[in-house]
Every structure is written in C-alpha cells, then in structure tokens.
C-alpha cells in the first residue's frame, strides 16, 4: 500500500545531479529534442498496482461556488423563486439521469462521469470552504496541504516523476493560499502558468517570455555563469547545490519540451474549436496535454461563479462555455484512452442558495451555500453514469447519503495509490496521516464505495 517507488532507473534529478542531462541537453536548444515525446521515460509512466489505476487528476475548480440547481442538480418543479428563468432540465445518455438544460454537450457524456448531489460541509465563507473542499479537513491548528500538493508530494519528483512540466500545475492563476501547499511549503505549491491559452501565443510565465530571443537567453545564461564568482569561491555548499539544480530544471523547462507542451497550436483547429475558443475551453485542452505528458495534478482555476448579482445573465454566458470545454475534455480523454488513468473532478467551494434573492441589491442573484451542493467526478477508476446521494425537493438539504469533502478526496487518493491512512511526511516533523478515514471528530460519510470497483 502507499506510494510506488521507482527503482532501477535514474530519476530526472539523479540524472541532472550526475550531469547527464544538464548542459548537454540544453545545448541542443529548442526544436532538437525528440519531437512529440513528452514523457522522458521509456514507455510512459508506470501503471500503479492493481485496481489503483489513476495516474493524474484534472481539477476543474469552480471558483466562487457554482449553482447546483442550474448545473447538475436541477429542480424544474421547485418554482420560479428557485429556478428563475432556468427551469428546464434535460435527459442525458444515461437513463434516469437528468441535468440542467444549459448543458446539452455534457448530457451526451453522462456515462463517463458521476454526479454527487449530496456534498456538504455547511460553511458559507469562501476561504474556509475552499480549504475544506480542497484539503478534506476542517480548519484547525495546522494548515494542511490541498489535494494537489499531496499528489505532488506522493507522485512528484520525490517519487520518480520525470516529466518536464512541474508536477502540480494551475491554469492560469493561483487559487490562493487555502488551496495550496499548507505546511508542506513552497516546494509543493502549484506552478501557475499565467498567460492566456486562448491567445495566439500562450505565454506561460517564466517558461515562454515575451520578446526575448532564444539566442539572447542563451548568451545571458553564459554571462550569468561567467559572473558566478561567489558560487565558484564557495564549493560544495548544499544550498548552492540546490539552487544550481533548480536552475537546471528551470532552463530545461524554458528550452526543453515543456515549451512544446504548452504550445496549443500543435493541436488541430477543429479540436480547438470543439473545446471552445475561450480561456476555459483552451485551458481544458492544455490540461489534457499536460496529463498526457504525465503531469500528476492539473487545476483549471475557473473563475467567475460567485454570482450574487446578475446570476442568470452570467449563467447564460458561462454555462455553454463550461459545457463545451468540459464535455470535450471528457470525450477527448476517453478517445485517447486517458480517461481510465485520469480523474476529472469538478467542484466549487460550495453551491449557491437555491432560493433566489430577488431584492435589491441582488436583483436575481444567488448567495453562498454550503449545506448541500454538487460535485462531479469521472475517470481514473471512478464509475461513470451514476448519481450518488440526493438533495431535497428544493436542493436545500441533503436528503440522502451525505458526502463530505474528505470522503471524495480520500477516495481519490485511494485510486491514485496514496494511502489515506498512511503517513504524511512533513517539514514540521509531526506524526501526521494523509487523510485518515477514522479521524476523531471528522465528519464523514465513508468511502465513495458506490463509485469504486
């Protein structure tokens, strides 16, 4: 149980340390590496043991909290005060499952994902709710790492990850501290790409700089090394050693295949259109390219769901965008055989009040709602085409089978081969567990057995 350790082959870091890949690899410059092979290993990443087959996670983070009623838990009979103008649902390709009528493309992919309609934590503040939904833990004395940081810890460089992009990537801006590395420290923070994948050139922060030619970059690098007088005078310092290694890694990302990884123009126009020519759609495409290259954890930080005002105008604009990007992502992963090894997790920090605020200043808005909301989970060993739990007639309370963030995240860890009851190594030197099922005082509805084989 626990994490599989690579043996027998050199890790990327070991190789760098040994100088096998360092300067020689860089001297090739761009475009001279083996084209199209983004995974540095021989036959791609190792398959985890047994049924634990998930290799990567794509987290679609619905920042602000999406309305569950207007997406995956429609209540067409709840009346105008609950539905507003979005009072229609629609059937999906799975008998008996209906979702919001604004999501027709996702309706065609319902066999690939399952909907949890009984998510709950009861918190209505963004920060605390973001913390709970991404760490699985209640706020307490320690600030725990988010799922992304935990996956980066267990499936990243320390455990044989050899990919050319960082193990935890967020498209495009960071979700904020509550969703990051907690006490694990900056090493496990997500790499935020910056830039906009929907622009002709996706300027990934730090990797693809505007207006500096490769030639100038390389001559600068020579200059830098020529002027490293202190580095040359102080030999064998471990801090300097780490610094040099990080620099090698950074240059590999700048000049190596990582650049190609973020170059969406390598994809067919037709596919890019299907994903949607907008930041979210192209982020979904970029996420697929990243997990294809073995990146263990990618977050798409999809902003704009905190719709206290103008809720329905925003839904009419954003739901089709979400529908196209997410449905195409599921279909594309499936067609490429990647869905079996990739968990797709859609959730915000909470849902939104089922009852609409018609009064000023909201004028038809929905507030924060943590008592009951929805999450969607697909791939990586999670069964598709199911619904877990239920909300009541108006989506205000959990009616059946409460699912706490802990339950979802720990189930995800199991599929990734990370033992929730196993130790969580940490720089504090404390005896901590990853996300144990039987933690005292923790609210839990248990593993998502309904969705696990």
């Amino acid at each position: 149980m626990g994490v599989r350790l690579e043996t027998g082959t050199l890790t990327r870091r070991q190789a760098l340390k040994a100088g096998l890949l360092g300067a020689a690899g860089l001297a090739l410059g761009p475009g001279l590496g083996a084209p199209g092979r983004l995974w540095a290993g021989e036959d791609g990443p190792p398959a985890p043991d047994g049924p634990k087959r998930a290799r990567s996670v794509i987290q679609i983070w619905m920042w602000g909290g999406p309305s569950h009623l207007d997406t995956f838990d429609p209540k067409p009979n709840a009346g105008y005060d609950y539905c507003g103008p979005l009072d229609k649902d629609m059937p999906t390709n799975v008998d008996g499952i209906r979702i919001g009528a604004k999501l027709p493309l996702l309706a065609g992919q319902a066999d690939k994902y399952s909907i949890i309609r009984s998510m709950t934590h009861g918190i209505a503040a963004h920060e605390t709710a973001s913390y709970i939904t991404q760490t699985g833990r209640p706020p307490g004395r320690l600030v725990y790492p988010s799922a992304g940081a935990v996956v980066a810890l267990f499936k990243g460089y320390d455990h044989g990850y050899k990919g050319l992009a960082p193990p935890y990537v967020v498209l495009t801006s960071p979700q904020g501290r509550f969703s990051e590395s907690g006490f694990l420290g900056p090493k496990y923070k997500p790499f935020a790409t910056g830039g906009d994948p929907n622009r002709p050139r996706f300027e990934v922060e730090g990797i693809i700089a505007p207006g500096i030619s490769d030639e100038r970059q390389l001559s600068r690098r020579e200059l830098l090394h020529a002027l490293d007088s202190l580095g040359k005078a102080v030999q064998g310092n471990p801090e300097f050693g780490k610094f040099d290694l990080c620099e090698e890694n950074a240059y590999r990302m700048m000049f190596g295949e990582a650049r190609r990884l973020f170059d969406l123009s390598q994809e067919k126009d037709e596919l890019r259109d299907r994903y949607g020519r907008n930041t979210f759609g192209q982020s979904c495409l970029a996420a697929r390219r990243l997990v294809e290259a073995g990146v263990p954890y990618v977050t798409i930080n999809y902003k704009g769901w905190d719709t206290h005002k103008n809720h329905f105008e925003i839904m009419n604009r954003k739901l089709p965008e979400m529908d196209g990007g997410m449905a195409t992502l599921l279909a594309d992963l499936s067609e490429r055989g990647l869905l079996d090894s990739t968990i797709v997790w859609w959730s915000g920090e909470f849902g939104r009040t089922p009852k609409i605020d018609w009064e000023a200043p909201w004028n038809g808005g929905r507030g924060h709602f943590g008592s009951c909301f929805s999450a969607v989970i697909a791939g990586g060993g999670f069964k598709g085409g199911r619904v877990v739990g239920a909300s009541d007639d108006r989506g205000e309370n959990v009616a059946d089978r409460p699912v706490y963030p802990r339950d979802l995240i720990a189930s995800m860890y199991e599929l990734l081969g990370i033992d929730p009851d196993g130790p969580l190594p940490n720089p504090l030197g404390l005896d901590l567990k990853v996300l144990p099922w039987d933690e005292a005082g923790a609210e839990t509805g248990g593993r998502l057995t309904e969705l696990l084989e």
Binding site: R141, F183, P186, K187, G194, E205, L227, F243
Partner: protein, 533 residues
Amino acid sequence: MLAAIVPFLAAIQARGEQGPGIPQDRAGAGDGGKAPAVGPFETPFSAQHGLVDELVTFVLRERGIQPAHSCSDAVFVRRVFLDVIGTLPSPGEVRDFLDDGNPDKRSALIDELMERDEFADYWALKWGDLLRVKAEFPINLWPNAVQAYHRWIRESIRTNKPYDRFVRELLTSSGSNFRVPAVNFYRAIQGRGASAIAGAVALTFMGVRWENWPAERRAGMEAFFSRVAFKGTAEWKEEIVFQDPARSGALDGAFPDGSRAAIPAGADPRCAFADWLISARNEWFARNIVNRIWSWLLGRGIVHEPDDLRPDNPASNPYLLAYLEWELGRGGYDLRHIYRIILNSCTYQQSSIPQSNHQSAGALFAYYKVRQLDAEVLGDALRQLCGVRENYISMIPEPFTFVPAEKRCITLCDGSITSPFLELFGRPARDTGLESERNNTPSDAQRLFLLNSSGLQKGLAGSRWLRALVKAGMKDHRRIIGTLYLTVLSREPTAAELAAVEMCFTGKGVNRQEAAVDLAWALINTKEFLFRH
C-alpha cells in the same frame, strides 16, 4: 579573557543543570594551514577577538576545525544591511563605507543601522511571524487589531523596550484589542482554550514544543491561563480580553520547572506566570531569545532548530549560549546589546567560504552561513533595482484590501495581505509561529521567475534608472558596469569580471541598452545577489 566568564558558568552548574565544563584557554592550531583570502569576498585582516570568538574558536580548536577568513568590507556592508535592516545598501552607502578610513567603521555602522527606521520595520516583520500577526484564518485578528498590534510591536522595537518588559506586557495586558494592542497576543492564537495559549506562550518565549511535554507539566502551566476570557463589543471585531471575574478564587499552578504557585483569590494568575517567566531563575527565557537572535543573524541556532529547546537537543556550543544568556541579564534585557555583541564578533564577520569541510563546521560556526534572501527583502530589492512592483492584496476579509504598490514589503503588517511573489519566495503564512514556517529554500519556480518572468523582464527593459545610467555612461561603459556592480552586488567588479563583461559592451553594433539590461539581469540572478553571504 576566559576567566571573565567563569563565574556565570559556575552559576549555571549551580542551577543543577548538566552544565558545560569550563573551557581551558590553550594554544590551538592557530591560523596556519588556511588557504589565502579570496578576491573580493575576504580579507586577511581580522578584528580583535571578543569573548564570543574565544568561545567559538575554543570549540573549533578542540575539533580541529579551521575557521574562515574575515569577510571583506564590501561583503560586510552588504551583509550587515541585509541582516540588520533587511535592506540593500544604496551605492552611495556602499561607497561611503568602503572609503571610510576609520578602523572602527564596522562597529560604527552596526550602531547606526540599529537606529534606522528600517531596523524597526524589519524586526517588526520578524516578530509579526513569531506572534502570528494576520487578519484572518486560521488566526483571526481582523484588520483593525492587526494594525494596532503591529504598531505596538514596531514601537516597542523602535524604542528598544527591554525584552522582559515587552514579554510581560504581552502576557499580562487586559482590555480592548483596539486600545490595548498587547492583548492581541491572546487573540493571535489558534484556539482560545488554556492549552492553546500555554502552547503558544511556551513556543514563543521559552522556545519549546509544549505539546511534547508530559501531561502533568502541561496541566500545571495551563492553570495560569485558565481564566483568560474574551467578549465582543458593539464595534466591529472589537474584543475585550480580560480575566474572568466569575472565576477569581484561589488557584494552584505549577511552573514548567516544577515549582508550585499558589495564586491568592482575586489575583491575576497570568502575572504570576509572567513574573516567573522573566525571572533569572527561569532557564528558558534568556536562552530562547539569545539563541533566536543568534540564529537570525547567523542562519543557525546554537541550539537548532532555534525554537526546539529540549534536553536531547543540546547546544552545539554551550559556552557560547551561556555567555550570551549572561550578557542579556547583564545588559538589562536590552536586545540591541546582544545584537551588538554578535554583530561585532569576528565570528559573525567571517567569510562564507569555509576553510574546513568538517561535518560540524557549520553547526559550530566556522563560517558565515549563506541563505537566500527573505521574500520581503528580495521583493524590495527587486523593486529598487528594476521597478518590479508587487500587487499586494488581501482577499479576506471582504471588502478586499489593496495596499499601495509603493509600500515596502518589509513594512507589511498583515500576514493575510500578500502577493504571489511573496508566497513563491517562502513568506511564512503565520499560522503556527514556528521559525521553520519561513522557507528560504530555492525552488524551480523561483528560478523560472527570476530567469524569465514577464514582470522581471519588462521591469528591466523599462527601467528608467537603467536608461539613465546607460545615457550617462555613453562615453565610458566602465561606468555603467561599475555602477551596476555597486548597485546590485554592493561592490566593484574584479579585473576578471570587468574583462568578461566589457566584451558585451564593446564591438560593432552593440546595443548598450540591451547590454546593460543583460548585465543587470545576470547580476540579479547570481548567488551573490540572491543569497546573504
């Protein structure tokens, strides 16, 4: 000289502690066998040894470890600015110092720096980390209290309030968190029960991990904080911290050293604890703070980690620690006295180039430990050099807080107000008050940022200062190079460096503006700039 410290060493032994033996002064290895001093970083001349140095070299000789050379004046001026005021020296300040012929100029600069505003800013930042000054989650001081508390801390440092008084005020104040800022000590703790408070007090002022104590000892200490109570007012987030009058009967507590305390009815048990804490018979109080100061200035505690004092984590040099404890009492708990002793020592003024590869050379302070700049210090330095501006923002609580970009990072009072840059470079979240929360370890993402981020690239390309420098140096590119070195690395280039760099500025079709940007970029990316050394 060693005779001077014999009495206090004896006193330590008399306290029944496993005391250090009294070191015997004897001839050691001497300075033979050292490699010659290196170029711009070292000087063969060393200041006169003080007691700190006697004690450090005593242990080094025992182990056969050769200490490093003295650092050069150029290294010293940069180091002491960064260590003491968290600020890069300006080219003028560097030149003034280098040109100064006064043999005591290092000592004079140390005194001067401790009087500067940035001294209060920088050490208020450090204390903000330890006291967990932040508006929200998981510490919930809220913005008004953060500002009142930070101002109080900064003012205490600026006026050099004696450390025992500073701590006593933190532990014994009562009243509104807006009007009596010190009461925020009790509010900046995760949890409001006696055990959470006792744990925070023990960590902060005794340097111990309270949670590892036996239950009985913990309970004895908890008693002193069992009557701390909190109540709101009509003002938003105003809170009164007070002693619960409903529980004012006599109380029995036990100090962490095992002695009992009988607190009479009506007395504030916090005062009894504070008086014990700051008294000379408490072995933790002085040790904790002098060890921390040593660690802040030299990058490693005499006991390491500096906030993990326990019998099975011994001091690497117990004489040194005992001496500094003694000096603290002798100086009336004047922390600047301790800073002064350490900063004026040859040990602090050593080069960062080790002369020994003995595995204990670092732990025994045979050289100055290099470490990456603090996030805030680096942020300020980058803005000073290339106009990279921070967008500080706090998403909590609503309404969002925006801080003017002109504000220096080291003056930020609120751990909740941050920027992606500061987080990338390891600014602590101020959740626990542990020293290890500040993480100055290099990372791939940090290197990407400095090598190639759009912010840094654009900042350099658009830097008015660089443009003006290039214009002024039209006829003499050496002036451009010299000024860049002085500004970024606080020293003149060596002949070899000058030769390497000159090639970029001469020759056909060279764009001097680009060359200057490239040089500034390269110098900013050197270890010499990014590390304290």
